[in-house]
């Protein structure tokens, strides 16, 4: 009996430890990014890192300004958002409200599969199909541009937007819709005037998380945006994002060099962006309930 009590005590403590392990891991990630990244700011000031216009990490002395990379990420992200938000939200409305029950399950599975396609496969498909198309359509010297990245990334954001927005629409109380219909509204009027506003905070969260996914996406973007770390003047030019810079250059950076520290500092920036996006989205999701 005492043995059993003791055993249970141990197991429950173990379960508790695993529960708080998640917090531990998030802290660990942040700490190790800080440990390797903060060393950079002894050499370069934070403003000249964030707003420096030149990224020449291996010149002598290295110039470590990430403004071109931030703008690269921004261009690609804004483009992807413009494409994916209307389509994603409309698709969520269709699945939640309009689609017949049996098709609904099929569509949801389809969107789950889209989410499952590895980003390197999407990048590869983008390289062999979309990139030549963009090159011809716009008469460009290369199809590896911000706009190609935006299109592929839009497809990576859509599953997130659709599934979370669909959840938000689904959790609007039935009585709202029935009330609108009883007052003589058409189904579409009920959706547009009642259900969408009622689900707005959830949809906003869906959009934020979708954009968060786009900012953090690495492989596809590295394969199709052309990887040129200069300040872009149009979306039809090659760009390089924050994520792609880390992925492309870390292999060559010497552990402990300024370049190495700078790549970790970019990691800190990305971590903080994703932290802000997720916490805000979480607040919106909880406001709803």
């Amino acid at each position: 009996m005492i043995m059993r009590k003791f055993k249970e005590f141990i197991i429950e403590k173990l379960i508790f430890c695993c529960g708080i392990a998640v917090i531990f891991f998030v802290a660990l990630i942040f700490l190790f990014l800080l440990k390797e990244g903060l060393a950079l700011f002894k050499i370069v000031s934070i403003p000249s890192f964030l707003f420096g216009k030149n990224w020449y990490p291996i010149s002598e002395p290295p110039q470590l300004g990430i403004l071109p990379l931030i703008l690269g990420s921004l261009y690609v992200t804004v483009g992807a958002a413009i494409i994916s938000i209307p389509i994603g939200v409309a698709c969520a409305v269709y699945i939640a409200e309009v689609a017949p029950q049996n098709i609904k399950e099929l569509l949801k599975s389809g969107i789950e599969l889209l989410a499952a396609i590895p980003s390197v496969v999407l990048g590869f498909i983008g390289m062999v199909t979309l990139v030549p198309w963009v090159k011809h359509a716009f008469g460009l010297p290369t199809g590896l541009t911000a706009v190609s990245g935006s299109i592929i990334l839009a497809f990576m954001a859509m599953p997130t937007i659709v599934s979370i927005a669909e959840d938000a629409l689904y959790s609007v109380p039935r009585a709202y819709k029935e009330g609108a219909l009883a007052l003589g509204a058409t189904h579409w009027q009920a959706i547009y005037r009642v259900i969408l506003p009622a689900a707005s905070s959830g949809i906003l969260a869906a959009v934020m998380l979708g954009i968060g996914r786009v900012i953090g996406e690495t492989m596809a973007v590295m394969m199709i945006t052309g990887n040129s770390a200069v300040i872009p003047s149009s979306i039809l030019q090659p760009v390089r994002t924050l994520t792609a810079t880390i992925a492309a250059e870390m292999g060559e950076a010497v552990v402990g060099s300024e370049h190495y520290f700078a790549l970790f500092a970019i990691g800190i920036v990305l971590f903080l962006i994703s932290f802000a996006v997720n916490v805000t989205a979480d607040i919106f999701l909880h406001k709803k309930r």
Binding site: F16, L33, G110, I111, P118, V120, F155, W188, A247, S274
Partner: protein, 283 residues
């Protein structure tokens, strides 16, 4: 004159349908194109041979094995922790600040960009703990990355077990842990399995976290221990499509097909298990 609401509705629904079509159609197209162009490359030699002539010929066997090792390692690490964390959240936690923090941490862990996981794995496992670029470092990095998937799905599965099941067990004199062990967990197994398989699929397809922690550009032999580097399918696809010139188109599509099949197969299995489970549910 007022617009006819019925007509407006038809137009609106048409556009909603169009949007859905735009989301789902590319999935079908991508899969079809890869199957059509990749299938001719698939033969026994391609699957079982090492890459030859600077990866322009031969097979992808070491990459397949490397991915299997990495995925197994990730799940061995993540499943126990993830499952117990889910048990904590579903069975033990109360509505406290700590619980709220754990949930927020899960959301954040799921949102951390994959390349940041790569940096983290490099800093902690490769450099600080001196595991080097190895299967161990890569598996642990991938394991932490898939934790949120396993926790979220397992927790949903545990919470969907009706409360009355627990009450009956407790009223018969079973302790809390006995109730969880013999009543709650067995009833939640299909859901937990779904989460595990989804985690496996995610780990198999990710490239950025393994870039600096394990992936070998070209390693024409099988890894001998967990401290060895290894090739991996997604990284191999990246390498032959961007880093090596003049690789046969067929070889690239073939590699993409093998990777896509592996990942989509796992996802389909997860969807089927969930579907069967919902259909058979006794309560």
């Amino acid at each position: 004159m007022r617009r006819n609401p019925q007509k407006t509705q038809s137009i609106a629904f048409f556009f909603l349908f169009l949007a859905t079509f735009l989301v789902v159609l590319p999935v079908g197209l991508i899969v079809l194109v890869i199957i059509q162009k990749g299938l001719p490359a698939i033969n026994w030699q391609f699957l079982s041979d090492i890459p030859r002539q600077g990866m322009r010929a031969g097979g992808i066997f070491p990459a397949i094995v490397g991915t299997l090792y990495l995925v197994s390692g990730a799940i061995i690490f993540a499943l126990p922790i993830g499952l117990l964390a889910a048990v904590y959240l579903s069975e033990y936690s109360k509505d406290t600040l700590l619980t709220r923090m754990i949930k927020l941490a899960i959301v954040n862990l799921a949102g951390v960009p994959s390349v940041v996981y790569g940096l983290f794995g490099l800093a902690l496992f490769v450099v600080f703990l001196k595991f080097g670029a190895s299967i161990l470092s890569g598996s642990l990095t991938l394991g932490i990355m898939i934790l949120p998937i396993i926790i979220t799905t397992s927790r949903e599965a545990l919470e969907s077990v009706p409360y009355s099941f627990r009450e009956v067990s407790l009223s018969l004199g079973a302790s809390k842990w006995q109730t969880i062990r013999h009543i709650v967990l067995p009833n939640a197994i299909p859901g937990i399995l779904t989460g595990t398989i989804l985690g496996l699929g995610r780990a198999a397809g990710e490239t950025a976290p393994i870039l600096f922690t394990v992936a070998a550009f070209y390693l024409p032999r099988l890894p001998g221990s967990v401290f060895d580097q290894a090739m991996a399918l997604p990284y191999h696809l990246y390498v032959i499509s961007t880093q090596v010139p003049n690789v046969d188109e067929k070889t690239r599509y073939g590699t993409a097909l093998v990777l896509l099949t592996l990942v989509l197969f796992m996802n389909l299995v997860a969807i089927v298990i969930r579907y069967q489970f919902r259909k058979k549910k006794k309560w």
